[in-house]
């Protein structure tokens, strides 16, 4: 095909069947199972025929629940060939509580309005309850259960949806991102621009990232497919149990590219023994992308220190910034130079001013500059462009932005404005103009980011409802990257009941930890029990999570006191008008009890 591709199907159709490229699946014994891209295409065509015979129409949504393996690819591309829209969902977490998983999956199926669920045979056996709750029109099938019929080609337009990607929130506030073929092809071409194949070098990638995760699917699979290149895949659970498998695979298959979130680099530092690295040579690894969660300077340095002896090149580590709403990448730091960590004046940062570098300041990693085709603009809360040198909300514009949140025009309208997307992240340019590098300082949006995955705070907060000694509905979950830490910490603020006996209060933090761990599988790092009325609220009584976190980090999260003119003056002097307004607007006593 000579024209440039417009859809993911164009990529599939132009596969030539190179014998030296394709997918390689590694099992726990590091044995490889290889599949050429032409076989992926043929398997997808077979699935397409089955789906059409079953009654799947163009535009139907099809939920996919598969572990990492060839079936995922057949189901994903088969769905696309039938003109339908795949929505990859995560398979059950190993040893996790099933009831919780089934409830979440049912919710995701409902929100997706899935016509059909395609699942792995093992997963299908346990999905019955979710399917019964969500009642997809065509039920749940394994690939083997599809009719065997030749598929009919369907015309797909670049503006048609190609992927439903869940970013965060699965039960309380699900926000599936709807991405068109055009957006995904644009993002794929942007990524390919960073690693162009030459006669001397054909890039190859190793990934353990889940295929329902944007960095795994959009970041690894589509670039490999579009270049008909080599992609080696490891199941995420195998990586988590034995992180050395990842580095050994990079070495053995001489991979040039491999991305992962910050936590994965930390896991390697702590969990890989020297003996597991015998014979490993990481000098082939040109680009070690680090994104999907805030990047910790200490982890970057620790990884370089630990693995340089096995040939790892410090300049390979490449901090990046992206999000599902942009299909993936928004900014890249230089892929040829060592990562940059600079120290900025803490006092200035707390006042929303950025640019001053000081020797003992807060260390922040540069996530670089916009990828080709993207623009970044820093805005205030009202959406006005910030003056140079101020911290602002990161607004982005580019060719791979989402169409919107699936079937949710109200939430979409809050995020997309005149072709710009308000990411809800906060940052500044250094040097302080839009040609500078982007440094991220925190978030204005309510999302908890742990191990590369986004979580809706509501789900964590709900877990503690009903605990004795706790005021139901008065909890805030938030996470942030503390200075010097290796990853984000999860803190839970809970207001205790005024009438609770001492014994209940003493047991509350432990009970909160247990409840959250049971309900969400997340370990809370800190529980802060607070007096009634301490948490900041809006005038309508809604909890303000980011404000609570800001006050906590400033050491100012204290119970409310009667407002006197003197105290007000002090408060204004200390924290500015916003803080004073918050104290005025919040009820001084505690109407929620």
């Amino acid at each position: 095909m000579s024209e440039s591709p417009q859809t993911l199907i164009d990529y599939l159709e132009r596969i030539t069947g190179r014998p030296d490229a394709g997918l390689r699946f590694l099992d726990r014994g590091e044995k490889a199972h290889q599949v050429g891209w032409a076989e992926v295409r043929d398997r997808a065509r077979a699935v397409c025929g089955g789906l059409q015979e079953l009654g799947v129409q163009p535009g139907d949504r099809v939920a996919l629940v598969f572990p990492t393996g060839l079936d995922f690819f057949a189901a994903f591309f088969g769905t696309l060939l039938a003109g339908a829209v795949p929505a990859p969902l995560y398979p059950p977490v190993r040893l996790g509580r099933l009831d919780e998983y089934l409830r979440r999956t049912a919710r995701m199926l409902e929100v997706t309005k899935a016509a059909l669920v395609l699942a792995d045979a093992r997963v299908k056996r346990i999905l019955g309850e979710s399917v019964a709750l969500a009642r997809p029109r065509l039920g749940c099938r394994t690939l083997d259960e599809l009719p065997r019929v030749e598929g009919r080609p369907v015309t797909v337009a670049p503006s048609d949806l190609a992927l439903i990607q869940f970013s965060s929130g699965t039960t309380v506030d699900p926000k599936p991102v709807a991405l068109s073929h055009r957006a995904i092809v644009a993002q794929t071409e942007i990524l390919n621009g960073f690693w162009q194949d030459t006669d001397a070098l054909r890039h190859s990638c190793v990934s353990w990232l889940p295929l329902y995760h944007d960095m795994g699917l959009i970041g690894c699979v589509f670039p490999a497919l579009s270049r008909e290149a080599e992609l080696t895949l490891i199941g995420p659970e195998l990586f988590v149990a034995r992180p050395a498998l990842w580095l050994r695979a990079i070495s053995r298959y001489r991979a040039t590219i491999s991305p992962a979130p910050n936590f994965a680099y930390g896991l390697c530092v702590h969990r890989i023994a020297d003996a597991e690295m015998e014979g490993v040579d990481l000098s082939c690894w040109q680009t070690a992308l680090n994104g999907a969660e805030p990047v910790a300077p200490s982890v970057l340095r620790a990884f370089v220190d630990r693995f340089a002896v096995w040939g790892f090149r410090p300049e390979a580590l490449t901090p990046v910034y992206g999000l599902s709403e942009a299909a993936l990448a928004v900014t890249f730091s230089s892929i040829h130079e060592r990562f940059r960590c600079l120290r900025f004046d803490r006092d200035a940062l707390s006042r929303g001013v950025a640019a001053r570098e000081v020797a003992d300041g807060r260390e922040i990693v540069s996530v670089g500059r916009p990828v080709p085709g993207f623009r970044v603009s820093l805005r205030d809360e009202a959406g006005r462009v910030q003056p140079a040198g101020r911290i602002g909300r990161v607004w982005i514009q580019g060719p791979s932005l989402m169409d919107g949140y699936l079937d949710d025009p109200a939430t979409t309208a809050r995020a997309l404005c005149d072709g710009w997307l308000d990411t809800g992240d906060l940052g500044f340019f250094h040097p302080p103009d839009p040609t500078g590098e982007l440094f991220l300082t925190g978030r204005a949006k309510d999302v908890v980011i742990l191990r590369g995955r986004n979580h809706a705070p509501d789900e964590i907060e709900r877990a503690v409802d009903g605990l004795p000694g706790f005021r139901t509905g008065c909890a805030i979950a938030a996470s942030w990257l503390p200075e010097g830490a290796e990853g984000e910490l999860l803190v839970l603020f809970v207001e205790v009941s005024r009438t609770a006996p001492q014994s209940e209060l003493a047991a509350l933090p432990e009970r909160c930890r247990e409840a959250v761990l049971t309900a969400t599988g997340l370990a809370v790092d800190r529980v802060e029990a607070l007096a009634p009325g301490t948490l900041p609220r809006t005038s309508s009584g809604k909890l303000r999570r980011q404000e609570a976190l800001r006050l906590y980090l400033a050491g100012a999260l204290t119970p409310p006191q009667p407002v006197t003119p003197l105290r007000m003056a002090k408060a204004m002097a200390r924290s500015g008008i916003a803080y004073a307004r918050f104290r005025w607007s919040r009820p001084v006593d505690t109407p929620h009890e």
């Binding site: 040893l95 099933l98 995420p236 761990l517």
Partner: protein, 80 residues
């Protein structure tokens, strides 16, 4: 293989791969007592499979709440 042997095999996995230092008994609950978050649960599942050369099944796994439940499943998978 006896239940005791399976239990001590799992204890060894917990010690080696999850840095578990304390006592390890069948009554202990994986989440509440061993404090396993989802990443550590994955590690436990994979390493128990590696240790005993069995494959656990998602349908069984969802019902495992205690160390004793895990011992029983491994015993069944081993066919002893």
């Amino acid at each position: 293989m006896s239940d005791d042997a399976i239990l001590s095999g799992i204890a060894e996995v917990a010690h080696r791969h999850l840095d578990w230092q304390g006592p390890f008994t069948p009554e202990m609950r994986l989440v509440e007592d061993l404090r396993l978050d989802s990443v550590r649960m994955m590690t436990l599942a994979i390493e128990v499979e590696n240790r005993f050369r069995v494959l656990l099944d998602e349908a069984d796994e969802g019902r495992i709440e205690t160390v004793g439940d895990l011992v029983a499943i491994v015993r069944r998978k081993l066919g002893v």
